[in-house]
Assembly symmetry: C2
Homo-oligomer: 327 residues x 2
């Protein structure tokens, strides 16, 4: 159902303020409302529902900087929400890259997923920086010739500034999201074929069996598994988090945020123009029969967001609104 | 057929010295012999054959540094061989990362392909640095809902130090290499199904039609196309090279080499131990029925290389040896 963006923002903020200082609650609210406005429902206010809703997390410690250099920072999030740690991390990466040309921030000891990498890399791209971000999660995805879960669903995101909207691309390296399994289980539904294996390595369409087994890599092959492994290293050992592990399910997620000033190699204004031109060339290329427009990564989400911004209205799942007592 | 590594090296060096100074010839020889020893035949001395063999390139200018900062360098290769430019670039990235924690080098105006990204990122990993490298090439690969070639076969490589051999992963973002098309054409063979489309966007197994049309992304879907696009930006506009273009077929290739000191975020010795442990965990995981050993990316090539090093013998295509008058 449709509600106003303003109302949704106020209600989410109120929910989060029960547990977090206003400043932190605002940061998490900004992310959640962005996800809803962008139509990325699996990464939005659904995080306020379920067995361990975001507003009920009891962080064990404050967010602290464990290591700091000119170019880098490692953050121990003290089991605070990943969204909070990632936003602070992105801001720090921006500051460092604006000053030195490069900024890299690792976050560890975070509670659960930070959601869509697109949100954070877009923050960087809007500052005329190149953003690259990846995150590891508890092992859920297999690869190579293994039948065990090895890597997380391990998303990677890229953001580039242009003269128009930033180019933003964001993908999981698993065939489907772990949240997709949770949702299918909750609804008593099957998952599509060729997405997962059970604990014995046999194909399954049962989400519970898939949870006990493993998801497949996005290409069902070794390149996808290889990329998942690369992200496992960059957002695991490199940030001091876990790796190839699903024991520490709640806290040992990890993220790496990299900000690069294009001025390190070219003039930023040329870079932006060329990125704009690159998009134009792709969009003006010849299309498959029956296709009216070539849509690039992130375009649908941005169009949803802009529409919600203009109309002031956002489509939200009624079941979730009722569960949260927002209606 | 088998010849000694020593003999192959001498002969390749002699071939290259006809056109290049000894120092440059040695750099290119090192790469080509490495590729042959590693069994990466499509990226080895075959580059000395064909219509435009490497030893016959007439570079238009010397390799010059166009831009230099503490953390970065942009190289105009003056149409010198890509292997030369990439090796010099990797060395510079290493120096910068060792001094400042981060080094990024872009190369443009290079002649043709630098071969396997694995070679360069392994150089970085052997210096206890993280290496990430990607390259763009003339448009040959389509994506999204386009039927035009948009991106190159755009490979990306990653290298990480461990307490044993480095972890090295290297992949093209196209379903097959462009060289695979050239080879199939030369042999009068068909290519496998679901690899390419013709100029009208219809599936084809004819390599000539595929060259006039386009290769498909490695996953035949939008994630693969998205990754190809990201590499097109990183190794195109970011290094001052071309993008979404197959007009400047010979020279406007581009590469980006990134070196990161893990000490920026953690202790390098811990990072290496954890990377070793990560490999161990994957290799010790449960295997698919009928699989004896889980082989990780780059393992087969390294095992070939080590075997050639120990035996002093390398397997080389006899047809190529005859064409080069090496036998």
């Amino acid at each position: 159902m449709q509600i106003t963006v303003a109302e949704l923002r106020l209600k989410v903020l109120k929910t989060l303020k029960t547990n977090y200082p206003a400043k932190d609650a605002m940061i998490i609210t900004d992310y959640l409302v962005w996800a809803e406005m962008s139509g990325i429902k699996t990464q939005g206010i659904i995080k306020l529902t379920g067995a361990e809703p975001l507003q009920n997390i009891k962080p064990k410690a404050k967010i602290t900087v464990e290591k700091n250099t000119k170019l880098s920072q490692r953050i121990d999030a003290g089991t605070n929400p990943a969204i909070l740690a990632a936003t602070l991390g992105a801001r720090t990466a921006i500051k460092k890259a604006k000053k030195y040309g490069f900024g890299m921030v690792g976050t560890r000891n975070i509670f659960s997923s930070n959601g869509a990498q697109a949100y954070y890399v877009e923050m960087l791209a809007k500052e005329d920086l190149i953003g690259i971000m990846c995150s590891r999660s508890p092992a859920s995805t297999t690869g190579f010739d293994s039948i065990d879960p090895l890597f997380g669903t391990n998303p990677i995101g890229f953001g580039f500034p242009t003269n128009e909207d930033p180019i933003v691309f964001d993908m999981a390296t698993s065939a489907m999201t772990f949240f997709g399994l949770i949702l299918a289980k909750a609804r008593g539904e099957k998952i599509p074929k060729d997405m997962a294996i059970d604990a014995n390595g046999n194909p399954t369409t049962n989400p519970v069996e898939a949870m006990q087994g493993a998801l497949l890599p996005f290409d069902r092959s070794y390149k996808g598994a290889g990329l998942g492994m690369m992200i496992e290293i960059l957002a695991g050992p490199l940030v001091g988090s876990s790796y190839v592990d699903n024991k520490t399910f709640k806290e040992e997620w990890g993220s790496l945020i990299i900000a690069i000033d294009p001025n390190l190699l070219v003039e930023a204004k040329d870079f932006k123009s060329h990125c704009s031109e690159l998009v134009k060339k792709i969009k003006e290329s010849r299309k498959k029969a029956g296709v009216n427009e070539i849509r690039l990564p992130g375009e649908k989400a941005r169009s949803n967001f802009e529409q919600a911004k203009i109309s002031g209205l956002v489509d939200v799942d009624e079941v979730i609104l009722r569960e949260l007592k927002y209606i």
